[in-house]
């Protein structure tokens, strides 16, 4: 059954990689939804592998996770996209071919970096850390290399998901309340970002983040 967790992690990694290459926003939102779903499903898989002691708390948290990250957030992003009237990330700051290469190198970098760290024994699998780091780096790459504000929100969401994956992968116990708090924060954060994108569309008639550069140092005489 160890294979199930490996499959989950690998598909998470694949979603991340595809995110870096896709230009259609709708497709990116779907990928992020899949990532959320996989992330929610991981604790259940781990509990099944560990020995079936499935107490209700872990189950409830997994359900909420899947519901929020798998369904509610993507729906909200889709509505924001429709209102923003933006279909595709036209010409990103870094071309798609180049961003593909960059994503691959980031994944290689995170695998090298994961090797350096020594682990305690109760890790889900050796793959967890590298996948999480590659997700983080790709998330950051999306924020830096994409023009549209909505893509930046998606990049930010991928970044959050991979951090949560790292937490889940490392079997960390920091109390259900904190877990719930983090989930709530991420949900409200993306919700506020969606409203912000809508307001920016209303005000600027475009949502290119790189054109938002009015606030800068006026060169003094």
């Amino acid at each position: 059954m160890n294979g199930l967790i490996e499959i989950l992690l690998l598909s998470f990694l694949l979603c991340g990689f595809l995110l870096a290459n896709s230009s259609r926003l709708m497709y990116c939102i779907k990928l992020v939804a899949v990532q959320g779903f996989l992330l929610g499903f991981l604790p259940l898989a781990v509990a099944k592998v560990e020995g079936g002691s499935l107490d209700w708390e872990v189950l409830l948290l997994a359900m909420i996770n899947i519901a929020v990250k798998g369904a509610v957030l993507p729906y909200m992003l889709q509505k924001a996209m429709l209102k923003a009237g933006v279909r595709r990330e036209m010409e990103p700051l870094l071309g798609y071919a180049a961003s593909g290469l960059v994503a691959l190198s980031l994944i290689a970098l995170s695998f090298w970096f994961a090797q350096q760290l020594e682990y305690s024994e109760q890790v889900v699998s050796r793959l967890a850390a590298p996948v999480a780091f590659s997700g983080i780096l790709i998330g950051l790459f999306l924020i830096v290399a994409r023009r549209k504000a909505l893509t930046q929100v998606i990049g930010f969401l991928c970044f959050e998901n991979s951090i949560a994956l790292f937490g889940a992968g490392m079997m960390l116990q920091y109390g259900a309340l904190i877990e719930l708090g983090i989930l709530l924060d991420v949900f409200v954060m993306v919700f506020v970002m969606g409203i912000a994108v809508f307001q920016i569309k209303q005000e600027f008639q475009h949502i290119n983040a790189d054109l938002l550069n009015a606030l800068k140092e006026r060169p003094g005489k």
């Binding site: 305690s120 109390g175 904190i178 954060m189 606030l215 140092e217």
Partner: protein
């Protein structure tokens, strides 16, 4: 028990104002807002360690360091709430007059006033939660909540710049805080006994921490909360955010929120094992001096006085980091840390409220466009210059005492570098301040009426400045009596 009240009162009032907003008049919601601020101040006073139980289970507690900060942010909130009354009234008149003049007039406010008030109260609740949380995870959730709630405050006044400022603030701060979350996970891994993120447990097992994960965790926490606090390479959102928001919001942000972010780093240094302390000290010193350097260079020939105050916040957060680095080796520097925080917050609130007055009178934020403030708004100009002087660390201000003790702690070479950078910042800020105050003011009629209105809003910053002055003078007497270091 009062600890829980601290968080519940603002939250409940926020709910009341949010839901009853449409039914009760704007005036009543403002009164409720001020009432909640006073109640919160009273509960903060009650929850001081010397009065009541300071601990509530394993979640909330107030120790010698965070109690004054709680009281400070509560008192700041009282000033800001009273100032907000006058300011929102001014906005109301402006929008009503605008609406009468021409129908196509867009309301200067992005969303209704009561939403703004409830967001501010939620912001207060989140801040109180952050200050009094004993669990690092809970602290992270509270800080994340402050970012979420303060984002709409930034863009309350409808303008392109406000939206852009809000977007940058939102994205960069949430990124930073996410890094802090990763840092927390690293800490959880480094901590062998899986005892959750409770502060007291972590303090006991601090020696057993895994060094490699611990150092990585510290770096991420430094980056994460450093972004929220405005330390050097992560400071980029701060000047842009401050230059586009109303004086009220930036006063809250810089007066109270920066201190909470600093509290995060402070808590983390408390649980660091002895082996990691030297490297932590070096990193804090490096970031501190880098912030001072950026502030020094960006303050020279600064064209916008709100950004000027933003960079002075960056400078003072840099100084806080340096004092923290020194307090790792010598414990009684924590008192100096507290003095610096209190002094800086009081002065920064006074200055931002004054900046708001100046914007109200002159309508522009450029240093070159504002001229002859001594002539047009005499008392505001005098106070503005006095607060700038005190912010640069001249004697009557508490910052002079903390900088003096810091220089004596740092030793000759670092002390000389610190003094030089402080000198550069003082030069840049005073140049801008004096350029605005001197000369003859433009003679328009509208400006004269606005200047009179600004003069009426003078008492609030005056109270804050007076408190800072008296705090400084008492510190100086303390310094003369106790310190015989030379």
């Amino acid at each position: 028990m009062p600890l829980l009240l601290n968080i519940l009162i603002p939250a409940v009032f926020a709910g009341i104002i949010f839901f009853l907003g449409k039914r009760i008049s704007a005036q009543q919601s403002r009164h409720l807002f001020v009432l909640c601020a006073l109640l919160n101040f009273v509960s903060a006073l009650l929850s001081q360690p010397l009065f009541a139980l300071t601990q509530l289970g394993s979640w909330l507690f107030l120790d010698k360091f965070s109690a004054p900060i709680l009281l400070l942010s509560a008192s700041l909130f009282v000033w800001v709430s009273i100032y907000a009354g006058g300011w929102l009234q001014a906005l109301d008149d402006m929008s009503r007059r605008g609406a009468e003049r021409d129908s196509g007039f867009r309301d200067p406010r992005l969303f209704p006033e009561h939403v703004f008030l409830s967001c501010t109260l939620l912001f207060l609740a989140a801040m109180n939660l952050a200050i009094s949380s004993a669990n690092l995870g809970l602290f992270w959730v509270a800080i994340e909540a402050t970012t979420l709630v303060s984002a709409p405050l930034l863009c309350f006044q409808r303008s392109k710049a406000a939206l852009e400022a809000m977007w940058k603030y939102l994205l960069i701060c949430s990124l930073g805080i996410a890094l802090a979350l990763l840092g927390l996970f690293f800490l959880a891994i480094a901590e062998p006994t899986q005892s959750g993120l409770n502060l007291f447990a972590l303090m006991e097992h601090s020696e057993a921490l895994n060094l490699q994960w611990g150092k990585a965790a510290f770096i991420l926490i430094l980056a994460g909360y450093g972004t929220k606090m405005g330390l050097a390479p992560f400071h980029t959102w701060l000047p842009d955010a401050y230059s586009a928001t109303p004086g009220l919001v930036s006063a809250l942000l810089s007066g109270a929120l920066l201190n909470c972010a600093f509290l995060g780093i402070f808590r983390f240094t408390q649980i660091m094992p002895a082996a990691l302390l030297p490297s932590c000290r070096q990193m804090l010193l490096a970031l501190g001096f880098l912030s001072l350097l950026t502030a020094a260079f960006f303050v020279v020939r600064q064209q916008n006085y709100k950004r000027l105050l933003g960079y002075s916040s960056i400078e003072h957060m840099g100084i806080l980091a340096i004092i923290l680095a020194c307090s790792l080796s010598n414990a009684d520097m924590q008192r100096v840390l507290l003095w610096h925080i209190i002094g800086h917050s009081l002065l920064k609130v006074a200055l931002f409220l004054l900046a708001g007055n100046i914007f109200l009178a002159y309508g522009t934020r450029s240093v070159t466009a504002v001229k002859g403030m001594f002539e047009s708004m005499r008392w505001n100009a005098f106070l503005f210059l006095l607060c700038l002087l005190m912010l640069c660390g001249s004697p009557p201000s508490p910052l002079f005492v903390s900088e003096l003790l810091l220089v004596f702690e740092l030793g000759p070479w670092l002390g000389a570098a610190l003094l030089f950078l402080l000198f550069m910042v003082a030069a840049g800020m005073l140049h801008a301040g004096m350029r605005m105050c001197m000369g003859t003011s433009p003679r328009q009629e509208s400006m004269r009426k606005a200047a009179l209105l600004a003069e009426r809003l003078f008492p609030m910053p005056a109270v804050a400045a007076f408190l800072a002055l008296s705090f400084g003078v008492s510190l100086i007497f303390l310094l003369i009596r106790t310190y015989t270091i030379f």
